[in-house]
């Protein structure tokens, strides 16, 4: 098992190191969903806002064919994507890289959730401490209060 894994890594390393050889290497079986997965990350260059996987355009069809060819030649998905980035620039990536400037777009939502959560928990914490100290509970006899509680809880 371990041996097979090592061979695969070695083979991959060779292929990655020498793309020209990769093209001649015996073709690998590549499924439709593997192609789809890579193509879904790429922007169709002639469409408004569709991925290469989804676009019905001729251009996207050709790009899918290139994806398939390169995967069959043994390239890793990451490398196939890099091939397109080299030609079209970062713009072709539908999800921006998680590094450098574009890391910002990934961090912003996390920050938003964190800040929102922090604000609400601070408020809830403050507000739950108030009624005990600030407002004195109205004088209602316990039986009445129990009845109100029961009714507000069971009210549909």
């Amino acid at each position: 098992m371990k041996g097979r894994y090592a061979t695969a890594v070695l083979l991959l390393a060779v292929l990655v190191a020498d793309p020209a050889r990769g093209a001649q290497a015996p073709t690998r079986a590549v499924t439709e969903s593997q192609v789809h997965e890579v193509a879904a990350e790429l922007r169709c260059v002639v469409c408004q806002n569709l991925s290469v996987a989804d676009s019905p355009s001729e251009m996207a069809r050709q790009m899918r064919a290139i994806v398939r060819e390169r995967l069959e030649a043994g390239e890793s998905p990451a490398r196939v994507i890099q091939y397109f980035v080299d030609r079209y620039g970062e713009w072709i990536l539908l999800s921006p890289r998680r590094s450098g400037f574009t890391l910002l777009v990934w961090l912003a939502p996390l920050a938003a959730v964190a800040i929102g959560f922090a604000i609400v928990s601070t408020l809830v914490w403050r507000w739950t401490r108030r009624p005990a100290s600030a407002s004195t509970p109205p004088r209602v006899d316990p039986a009445m209060r129990e009845r109100i509680r029961r009714e507000t809880e069971t009210e549909p």
Partner: protein
């Protein structure tokens, strides 16, 4: 003559709207009824004039008046009758007229309904609504005049964007615009509340139903947009996180947040500041959405034009936000009230969390949508932010929201006792866990799919528990089953309308999960008589036919679809329009509850001997449309006047 009439009507309408806005404000300050009456008359006048503009433009479309530039660019002699009518709002100028017309209509309805019932707010509401209307009329007369002449007058027009030749053209924009413009009403009431200093609950009680009406139309518009995308754009999907889809989604999210947080204010007299802010933000987002759609700053299916219009909307947006913030600051003392909660485990907390999540999703969508602009401005590098990003970031937030959807409505106000939690949630949680195990046993391996489906079952179970318990209580006092259920729905229509909306969302969630997780597709080139197979379907290429339609040339393939027995012949096509460089795909499909088979025609040999076809089997997509239907029914139920008192 017609264009001059239309142009004149727009200018007079603008003057009247400004007059009305000013006199209503003066009427509010001086309390003189004559001023208010004058403003009212002005508003009715605006409505009549905008209606006239709309009618005149429609007439120009129907009579092929190519001397009007807008008509010439959006229709031609081959455009069928139906699309000559819908073409009126097929591009920027006409859609602004439609917008202004709806806004004027809402203004008239507000006058009829609230003249007496909301006397304290009413003059300022009128001022704000007429002010917003004046802005749109200004756009109509200066930035995007629909009646501008074309010279020389062309013999034939350019024609409508072929993608807009669909029956959805009447429902999708109309519903969406009714939603967008409808959100002006709560905004106007919020500003009126701030100006008059009556920031209590009165304005909320008055506008809650208005917000649901706008929310209902906005939901409908979004759903029909999804359906349109699915059956017209030919890529097999219903939501692409396109900038303009996002633009319509953002106000929907904040309006949803408002509809929930409003309940805390009604119950506990808290969150006044927050609710006002949400309403102002929601209205701001509708303007921002229009700015995105119409300015062409971001490339999209919907971006019709470029030019001065962007600056107009951006300035108005800035004005609205500054006014809103200024008023909030001015009324700070009245708004800045400390809240008081009894316990962290309460419905209040659940709703607060719901608001945090909805606003976080809004922010994510906003930031992702404008990020490409930011990147280009900041470092001159073009980047894309597309579906894979939005899905990855938002799905966890959506799942948390679905979870809260189960918790919120059943957890007790103020303080949830252990007993309350056990009584309401023990059974649903167990059902959810069993469902998760069941889905896993059935072979669902995607963690997200298992989680979503299990959460969906959990929430559905909470709704069932609640409804069953309430029904049983009614049976105990001697009602029969169906009258009891009907009575519940009608007397507590707000609560159960909400539940039905939740059910709709759950069904949509199942559809989205299924279509993401289990849809399959393939693409092959077939010779005549050859077949391709996918997921148990066999698709045989029969032949290719070409035909001349009124305004385009159409090449259609015939494919027999079978799964053991013949299901029928599907005819996907390519349409060639003279005004378009590339052909438009025309998909054909067979919808089913569990799966749709969906064909897109690709390349073909000119002699018809072979054709490339993209074959998709999309799973559970129909659930999205069914869920949409359920959701809108729930919203309708919630809009009904409450009958609780009479019971």
């Amino acid at each position: 003559m017609i264009p001059e009439l239309g142009y004149g009507a727009a200018i007079v309408a603008l003057a009247l709207a400004l007059w009305g806005a000013v006199t209503a404000a003066l009427g509010a300050r001086t309390g003189r009824p004559a001023l208010l009456l004058s403003a009212q008359h002005a508003a009715v006048g605006v409505f009549v004039l905008v209606t006239a503009c709309f009618a005149l433009l429609t007439y120009a479309f129907l009579t092929f008046d190519f001397s009007v530039r807008y008509v010439a660019t959006n229709t031609n002699l081959g455009t069928p009758f139906y699309y000559r009518i819908t073409g009126v709002w097929g591009a920027l100028e006409g859609s602004i007229i439609l917008w202004a017309w709806m806004l004027a209509l809402y203004t008239v309805i507000v006058i009829l309904r609230h003249r007496v019932s909301a006397r304290a707010f009413y003059p300022w509401v009128l001022t704000v609504m007429l002010g917003v209307l004046a802005f749109f009329l200004l756009v109509m007369t200066v930035a995007a005049p629909p009646f501008a002449r074309s010279s020389p007058v062309p013999a034939d027009g350019r024609g409508l964007n072929p993608l807009l030749e669909d029956t959805g053209m009447i429902t999708h924009p109309v519903a969406l615009y009714l939603g967008f413009t409808g959100l002006t009403v709560p905004f106007a009431f919020a500003l009126a509340a701030l100006i008059t200093g009556r920031v209590g609950d009165a304005w909320i009680t008055l506008t809650r139903r208005w917000t649901i009406v706008a929310w209902y139309f906005l939901s409908l518009g979004l759903l029909i947009g999804g359906w349109w995308s699915y059956h017209v754009l030919g890529w097999g999907g219903y939501w692409a996180w396109d900038p303009v889809e996002n633009a319509a989604f953002m106000p929907w999210l904040t309006a949803t947040a408002f509809l929930h947080s409003v309940m805390i204010q009604e119950r506990r007299r808290m969150l006044k500041l927050w609710n006002l802010s949400l309403v102002i933000l929601t209205f701001g987002l509708t303007l921002f959405g229009t700015f995105l759609t119409r300015s062409g700053v971001i490339a999209s299916v919907h971006a019709f034009t470029q030019g001065a219009i962007g600056a107009f909307f951006l300035s108005f947006l800035a004005l609205v936000l500054l006014t809103g913030l200024g008023l909030l600051a001015w009324r700070w003392d009245a708004l800045h009230a400390q809240g008081a909660l009894d316990s962290i485990v309460s419905r209040e907390s659940a709703f607060l969390l719901n608001n945090v999540l909805l606003v976080a999703v809004t922010f994510t969508v906003f930031f992702g949508t404008v990020f490409p602009l930011l990147s280009e401005v900041a470092r001159g590098v073009k980047v894309s932010v597309g579906a894979p990003f939005f899905n990855q970031v938002n799905v966890p937030l959506f799942l948390a929201l679905i979870f809260l959807m189960g918790v919120g409505p059943l957890i007790a106000w103020r303080r949830a006792s252990l007993d309350n939690l056990r009584r309401n949630f023990l059974a649903p949680v167990l059902v959810g866990v069993v469902a998760a195990a069941g889905f896993f046993a059935l072979g669902v391996r995607s963690a997200i799919a298992v989680l979503t489906l299990a959460l969906t079952v959990f929430v559905a179970a909470t709704i069932a528990v609640d409804f069953a318990r309430a029904t049983r209580a009614r049976l105990r006092v001697g009602e029969r089953l169906f009258p009891a259920m009907r009575g519940l729905l009608l007397r507590h229509n707000r609560r159960y309308g909400g539940f039905v909306v939740h059910l709709g969302i759950l069904i949509i969630a199942v559809g989205v999960t299924g279509s993401q997780a289990w849809s399959v597709q393939t693409e092959t080139t077939l010779r005549r008589g050859e077949s391709a197979e996918l997921a148990g379907y066999r698709v045989r290429f029969e032949d290719l036919t070409a035909s001349e339609e009124s305004n385009h040339f159409k090449v259609a393939g015939a494919f027999t679809v079978s799964n053991g027995r013949v299901l029928g012949v599907l005819r996907p096509a390519k349409k060639f329009y003279p005004q378009e460089q590339s052909p438009i795909a025309y998909v054909d499909y067979r919808l089913g509850l569990n799966e749709d088979i969906y064909l897109v025609l690709g390349d073909f040999a000119r002699d018809g001997s072979q054709a490339t076809v993209k074959l998709l089997v999309n799973r559970l997509v129909s659930w999205i449309w069914i869920g949409g239907l359920v959701l809108t029914l729930g919203a309708l139920l919630a809009i009904l006047p409450e009958r609780r008192k009479g019971a």
